[in-house]
Amino acid sequence: MENSRIENTFNSIKQNHRKALIAHITAGYPNLQSLMPIMQSLQAGGADILQIGIPFLDPVGDAPIVQKASQKAIENHFTIGDFFRTLTNIRQEIQSPIVLKAYYTSIFGYGEDKFIDECSASGTDAVTVPDLPLEESSSLREKLHTHGIPLIYTMVPASTERMNAIAHVSQEFIYLLPEYNPDEKTFIDGINNFARKVRDITQLPLCLGMELSDHESFKTVSSGAQIDGLLIGDILMKKICSAVEKGAFTSITEQLEQAVKGFYSLQAIR
């Protein structure tokens, strides 16, 4: 079987001895038309994997800036149907893997089967669902798998039994969410201890599911943490929001590209 875009990405990153840079943005803000240029700028800046969040009004895991953008998107009549139509066009222009992040509330509301069909038709490479733990995920996962689309799980430090069970059904990569600690060394040690335990049970690439928002922490984690990918997101949304508020949207693609480049250049070579 041919390798997927995600597998190819991690293979090439491994060969280049660096970590994958995952750039996350929320769709529909300021509007759906802007999604294509935004994605292009993230790719041009060096992001290896592009993750798109479907706006949702009642998120339990999102930063205030993302909530605000989501709310505006929905006020501007964002619909999941329109989103998939846009994504299908974007897929023609973007070679990087695209991961969708959607709350299960939205997926269930839209219709699980319809959502999966649209993922498949639009060339989505993976789906991650923050409010769908292992216990509730089998139906969605199995249906996605029949279309060759993995469901990306998040692991937190838990019992070995639970981590085993999650690893067992995971494909392509896993997000790790370690306990945050303001002390840098303790934090990095925590990530590494956690990652070591997970590596004992799976060969899959492990990415940090916690968004890094400044250069300093990115640099520290990039050089110290024994993991395969890092996530940035809130910082990109902040740039988009502030450009929109200043009415300077035309410069946003340039700004985003530079921002991603900034993080890319901070990556430690292993």
């Binding site: 895991g61 409010d131 216990e135």
Partner: protein, 396 residues
Amino acid sequence: MIPNAKAKFGEFGGQYVPEVVMQALIELDEAFNDAINDEQFIKEYHYYLSEYDGRPTPLYYAENLTKKLGGAKIYLKREDLNHTGAHKINNALGQILLAKRMGKKRIIAETGAGQHGVATATVAAMFGMDCEIFMGAEDVERQRLNVFRMELLGAKVRSVTSGSSTLKDAVNEAIKDWAANINDTFYLIGSAVGPYPYPLMVREFQKVIGEEARKQIIEKENRLPDYVVACVGGGSNAIGIFYPFVGDKEVKLVGVEAAGKGLDTNMHAATFNRGTVGIIHGMKTYLLQSPDGEITAPYSIAAGLDYPGVGPEHSYLKETNRATYESATDEEALEAFETLSKVEGIIPALESAHAVAYAMKKAPELSKNHIIVVNLSGRGDKDVQQVAKIKGIEEE
């Protein structure tokens, strides 16, 4: 019924939460199951229910109301006589005892109008725990007196400005806080909603209402009632009184939702009469939502019924036709509020007035040998100012 291994009531309920919250739910589930099977724990819970809360509450024959309506006999389960004025304290006591048993030091809770916040702040004060109440900024503004009450009881009230700044946003923020402080914090949910084990746990701590009522009606009438009626927002007072009657097939269970300005307007909280199945606050249940699963804003004159979802066990009772869910409008609730006050000298909470309104509609249709038990879940002192304003008696 006991939820199956997947934490469901039929297809409803479950645990639609982030992985980090799952860790807390797993810990909670173990601790809860351990506790309710421990005689010592149950004894302690009942000790506080009787000594601190004032249980058992009476099952009062509303003779004047019955005569006025000229039909079925109406009994009121007087949950309004609980300490703090509503059934909410039953659950708050149970959960805080569990929190204590788990070694937690900090209690958080969400509140809409402030009733559950006050009940939580009350028990936190008594057990000497730190307490933080999440409340939508809109509600903080509308319910200043309850905010003061919670602060008087030593709680910190955190005003939530995300989303629509109401109850559902307060729940989201409380879940986030819990996820971030899972080691020392206990999230005390106020209704029979949320991810498993909350709906089950809240029912277990509220079923005392139905257990007492069942025993009391048999003592008084030597038989079971024909109807058990309760208002439904999230559904904790309803599941509390329904559950012990679920096995009694001849007893009709009727939940009454808020029809607000009318079921055909967009101003109601009639989750069953106008909603569809979806996901909200970690559970699969009926809710008011847009076609993309965005939760739509509910409305009711009674803040405690103003919730877009409903407890998953109610969805199951509806789906299996064991209970039916009717509705009462603001207007009908107000009429019941006034009637009960005038005829029985009991001012009901506007929430409970919805259940009374249904009984007032139903009783005249039934012959005198029928019995209706109404759960009078709370007292209406908190609503007097609002009703006065609606009637133009008092300007705010």
